[in-house]
Amino acid sequence: MKSLSPEKKAEIARRFTEAIPHCSALGMSLDEIGEGEALISMPYDTRFIGDPRTGVIHGGAVSALMDTCCGAAVMSHPDAPAITATIDLRIDYMRPATPGQAIRARATCYRVTKSVAFVRAVAMDDDDDRPVATATGTFTADHSPSRRSSEALS
């Protein structure tokens, strides 16, 4: 996998992420990707409201954004295989996202071992200084050609 150029890896990760049906359903767009880092945004949409009294987006939609962004960061990492699956993901919610504003997630894959990729991410709305949520996750990084990492979890 290391034989692929960083540009090629980023391109594969971009294509894969943009082909995910649930990501299109949530209106996500991949703004930046490459070298183990990804930036994905999700516009405000009334269909994803979690609290109708305030109009705040549901935490689950933020989870979906975080999971996608973390996965994309792993796939674009030079040392990770082109396909991955979430092992675990922890999300801490700091504050509700401001209604009417898009939510942006930035994920960094900071370490890849022989079998596991480690990722952290932060989600923001228009106020960059006060994060909406942070995430930490581990993802599969199965390099053996006989087993696709997705199968390792089935």
Binding site: I20, A25, H58, A61, D67, D88, L89, I91, S150
Partner: protein, 169 residues
């Protein structure tokens, strides 16, 4: 000692179903995902009917990890809200008919949520059951398990910590 006749079964069911309805309905994102709840006594089972828009890996295909997380988080929040509501409904402090779907002030807020992905989510219906492991005045902890075909083969589990709703007393 006078013996109080038990309430007619329809009255009990109607009261509990109205309370559950007010918790589950009226939240746009829960309806977007298509999550429903089945009730047996006070036991709730969350059901996520499969739909193409829930796919995360089109090649397998598998349910999106974020959908799984959202499904588990919704199950946990509803279970916690339900456990708060149950006593108040049963002893008559709250009239279930007065509860408006989506306007429920009893929803706890998620502080942190950790999901373990044990198997890939197959393109079919998923089920989840949550258990409130600790419920205090300010904080609560909930554990959730999700499965598809086989109850003993979980495809995901999660633990969440929640901030309890403030009561105006």
């Amino acid at each position: 000692m006078s013996f109080k006749r038990p309430e007619p079964v329809q009255v009990v069911k109607q009261r509990r179903d109205a309370a559950l309805h007010s918790l589950v309905h009226g939240v746009p994102y829960v309806e977007f995902l298509g999550i429903e709840f089945e009730r047996h006594g006070d036991e709730l089972t969350a059901v996520l009917p499969f739909a193409d828009k829930l796919i995360g890996n089109p090649m397998l295909p598998a349910i999106h990890g974020g959908v799984t997380a959202a499904f588990l988080e919704t199950s946990a929040i509803i279970e916690l809200g339900w456990s708060i509501l149950w006593d108040e409904i049963e002893d008559g402090r709250i009239d279930p008919e007065s509860l408006i779907p989506g306007q429920n002030a009893l929803f706890p807020k998620t502080i942190g949520f950790t999901v373990d992905y044990l198997r890939s989510g197959l393109p079919r219906d998923a089920y989840a059951r949550a258990r409130v492991t600790r419920s205090g005045r300010r904080y609560a902890s909930v554990h959730v398990e999700a499965w598809q075909d086989n109850r003993d083969r979980l495809f995901a589990q999660a633990t969440g910590h929640f901030l309890m709703p403030m009561r105006d007393e």
